[in-house]
């Protein structure tokens, strides 16, 4: 009994344990639900999963199921970010405990209730649990924003090495801004979402892209999904900054940009409803701020990695090759920053290109082709976010030595190949016609699936190792629990 209690305390009361539970659940959901589409479905695994689990997949409810699945995973990701931020950013211990407890119950309820309702018949109690779970996550968000309040006396007058303004810690203010913007953006989707068929009529934004005369509620839902993913990315960028102890001159430029960018992008997304004509311009302006802030973080981080690794190897005057080697010495830390750089190639630059060439490229393609580009675009972004979180977790649990290197590179290299392949796939109509595409599609899909499988196997190996470890009396979990108590 004592052993069970200790494990419960580790899994549900320590940061590492909470992140582990959420990551494991996401991995489990990805493993099972990933069988329902794409190559796994072609191999017949969908039918097997449906038979074994008793899923009920009504064709008319596909979009509704997908939205429930997105929310189940997204809320777990949000919870992970909250755990990590609450561990890194100073806040009162009882507040941290309340936030973590509330969001944990919330995302678990939303995940179990949402997936249960969507995929296993329509048990209305499960739907209620899904709604209650989301409400709890929102309530945890309010507590979280309050705890991050940068005007509190105890958090004023920060270390001068970090950005501040009139005694306010600007990094804390950036976290606070992100939290408040997330709360507003959640409402921005939740309230209009509940309007559609009393919450039971759904649509996927990519299906309505060419619809003439979208309603304000449709626009709000479309704005919601865009800004939520953006804010998840902003939260992660801030978190990576904390991980690298981002400070100094670049920090002082980056944090105001991050705050202004977050506010501007959020307003832009909200303005899609009343001022659609100018909303995108506002979003672009805000994006420049956020992307520049992230760029400064990457510059700082790369420089820090080089300096620290050269110092560790006692090299005073390094040549270019030595600097490069120092940069990539630790794939876990390098990878987290590199993924932010790579994102620009496979998401941002393609997005800008498509936006600039809209009338000459995507809009002359059939809608289904445009849809592939749109969904590819945000799937890549969401997956990049996931890989950075995995790398962060690998560092958090202290992977060392060869295991750290193997794990890091197994996440970074195959994921980069997969994202590159996905970007090629989603833009294939730029360079191949429909009839001639098969060899290219086959090659891309094979590459993409093999690369993604490698990433997922690496993640699965990590999860299995942690699961086995939980059965050990004095395993790594116990050590982590002790460390956390000490911290």
């Amino acid at each position: 009994m004592q052993g069970l209690l200790e494990r419960y305390n580790f899994l549900f009361r320590s940061t590492r344990g909470l992140v582990l539970v959420a990551l494991a659940l996401i991995a489990l959901v990805t493993a099972i639900w990933g069988m329902l589409s794409g190559p796994m479905a072609d191999l017949g695994l969908r039918d097997l999963v449906v038979r074994l689990t008793g899923m009920v997949l009504e064709p008319a409810e596909r979009e509704g199921r997908i939205i429930l699945l997105y929310h189940a995973i997204a809320l777990a990701i949000v919870a992970i970010e909250v755990y990590l931020i609450s561990a890194r950013v100073p806040m009162r211990a009882p507040e941290r405990a309340h936030i973590n407890a509330t969001i944990t119950v919330g995302y678990l309820a939303a995940m179990i209730g949402g997936l249960g309702f969507g995929y296993f018949g329509h048990n209305w109690i499960l739907h209620g649990i899904f709604i209650a779970g989301q409400s709890l996550v929102f309530f945890a968000g309010i507590l979280f924003a309050a705890a991050l309040n940068p005007w509190r006396a105890e958090y004023r007058a920060p270390n001068p090495a970090y950005a501040s303004w009139r005694g306010i810690d600007l990094e804390r203010a950036a976290f606070f801004t992100m939290a408040v913007a997330t709360l507003g953006s959640a409402l921005f989707g939740a309230i209009p979402g509940s309007f559609f068929g009393n919450g039971f009529t759904v649509f996927l934004a990519e299906d309505t892209i060419r619809e003439v005369g979208k309603t304000p509620f449709q626009l709000a839902v479309i704005g919601h999904l865009h800004i939520m993913l953006t804010l998840v990315a902003i939260a992660l960028a801030l978190l990576v900054g904390r991980w690298f102890d981002f400070k100094g001159r670049l920090h002082k430029i980056a944090m105001p940009l991050m705050i202004a960018g977050t506010i501007t992008i959020s307003l832009g997304a909200w303005f899609v409803v009343p001022f659609r004509e100018i909303a995108h311009t506002i979003i672009y302006v805000g994006s420049v701020g956020v992307l520049l802030a992230a760029l400064f973080l990457v510059i700082f981080g790369f420089d820090k990695l080089i300096r620290e690794n050269l110092a560790a190897r006692q090299i005073a005057q390094a040549n270019l090759a030595q600097k490069f080697r120092a940069l990539i010495e630790d794939p876990v830390k390098f990878g987290a920053l590199w993924q932010m750089v790579y994102m620009n190639f496979v998401v941002t630059f393609i997005g800008i290109f498509m936006a600039l060439q809209l009338s000459r490229v995507m809009r002359v393609w059939p809608h289904r082709e445009e849809r592939i580009t749109l969904t590819g675009h945000w799937h890549i972004l969401a997956s990049i976010i996931a890989t950075i979180i995995i790398l962060y977790y690998a560092d958090l649990i202290g992977l060392q030595g060869r295991v750290r290197k193997w794990f890091g590179w197994l996440i970074v290299i195959p994921s980069n190949i997969a994202f590159g392949a996905a970007a090629l796939f989603s833009t294939k109509r730029l360079y191949v016609t429909e009839s001639a595409q098969q060899p290219l599609v086959d090659a891309i899909m094979l590459t993409l699936d093999a690369a993604l499988a490698t990433v997922l196997i690496a993640l699965a190996a990590l999860m299995v190792w942690r699961l086995i470890d939980l059965f050990k009396r004095n395993g790594k979990w116990a050590q982590e629990a002790r460390e956390e108590v000490a911290e």
Binding site: H367, R368, E434, Q438, D442
Partner: protein, 318 residues
């Protein structure tokens, strides 16, 4: 453990060179085999099947309510109409071209078949393009995806594709075909009612789909062999319960007896909506996964778009 770091002898160098040449030779041979396989895949003979379904036949769709769209809204079509049982075939379209050319309804300009179109009303809505009056593209003679050939005097369908749906025809070309015979392209509502019947089903035949029920991506039909998952078009009415060279199909008729209302090729519908220059397509195609074959799924493209996965059928009566 000692490692031999002496330079290789002349014999050994010759052996290394031989080995390298052998490896290179094997690589070239493998590449050649792969290329030959690709080439043969592209040019492999297309199977020819007689489905027994008459592409000249029409089905009557009675007046009345039906459940429309993904949300199954009740919509009433207060008139009976007829719709082609199959997509227009290449043979049919080639015959039409010869007649329409002779009647000067269409003309060949720079290896394009064009015909007059009165233009659309323009509202200036976001991303809307002007479709002005004038000659519009119906098809490009010699386009790789076109299954109809022009010998300088007349058009005829490629024999192996004669009973396959006519593809690579623009919306203008599809509309012109129907109107030439006094028919029209179906509206989206008409199309969906014809596909779905009145019971709100997701596919023309019911609520579940099997691979041998429609020509979709990786549906493993005989026309995918040697080509890949996107395959090729299947003859109209192919999925009728018959077995073709060992490949057993399921009968995929709609409630009103129409074939290929899911998969094979997207089908142009007739409406010109205010505020957009796009034309809408229904049914999904050989390029798509099954969920795109649900009866309410919409696709859209510019009216001069043409592809190997886009065809049409006509409606008449009102």
């Amino acid at each position: 453990m000692n490692s031999d770091r002496r330079p290789p002898t002349a014999d050994a160098r010759s052996q290394i060179t031989d080995n390298r040449q052998r490896v290179a030779g094997i690589c070239v041979a493998l590449l050649a085999i792969a290329l030959a396989a690709c080439a043969s895949a592209q040019t492999s003979a297309l199977p020819k099947f007689d489905t027994g379904v008459d592409p000249e036949s029409w089905a009557t769709i009675p007046a009345g309510e039906f459940l429309f769209g993904q949300q199954s809204e009740r919509v009433k079509v207060d008139y009976a109409f007829e719709m082609m049982v199959t997509d227009v075939t290449n043979a049919q379209y080639a015959r039409y071209l010869n007649r329409a050319l002779a009647d000067a309804k269409v003309k060949i300009v720079n290896r394009q078949i064009v015909g007059a179109y009165p233009g659309d009303a323009f509202t200036g809505y976001r991303h809307e393009k002007k479709i002005e009056a004038g000659d519009k593209l119906h098809l490009v003679v010699g386009a790789p995806d076109l299954r109809i050939v022009y010998d300088g005097a007349s058009f005829h369908a490629k024999p192996e594709y004669a009973n396959h749906p006519a593809v690579a025809i623009t919306w203008f070309g599809a509309k012109a075909y129907c109107e030439y015979f006094g028919w029209r392209l179906p509206s989206e509502i008409e199309w969906e009612k014809a596909a779905r019947g009145t019971d709100g089903r997701a596919y023309p035949w019911g609520d579940a789909i099997a691979k041998n029920q429609a020509n979709s991506y990786n549906s493993l039909d005989p026309f995918e062999r040697g080509i890949g998952a996107q395959g090729d078009t299947t003859p109209v009415g192919f999925y009728n319960g018959k077995t073709y060279a060992g490949y057993a199909t399921r009968d995929a008729q709609s409630a009103y007896g129409l074939y290929d209302m899911a998969g094979n090729v997207w089908q142009w519908t007739g409406e010109v909506y205010k505020g957009t220059h796009y034309r809408y397509l229904r049914g999904g195609s050989k390029q798509n996964y099954e969920y795109n074959l649900r009866v309410w799924t919409r696709n859209s493209a510019e009216p001069d778009y043409y592809a190997a996965s886009v065809g049409f059928r006509c409606a008449r009566g009102k």
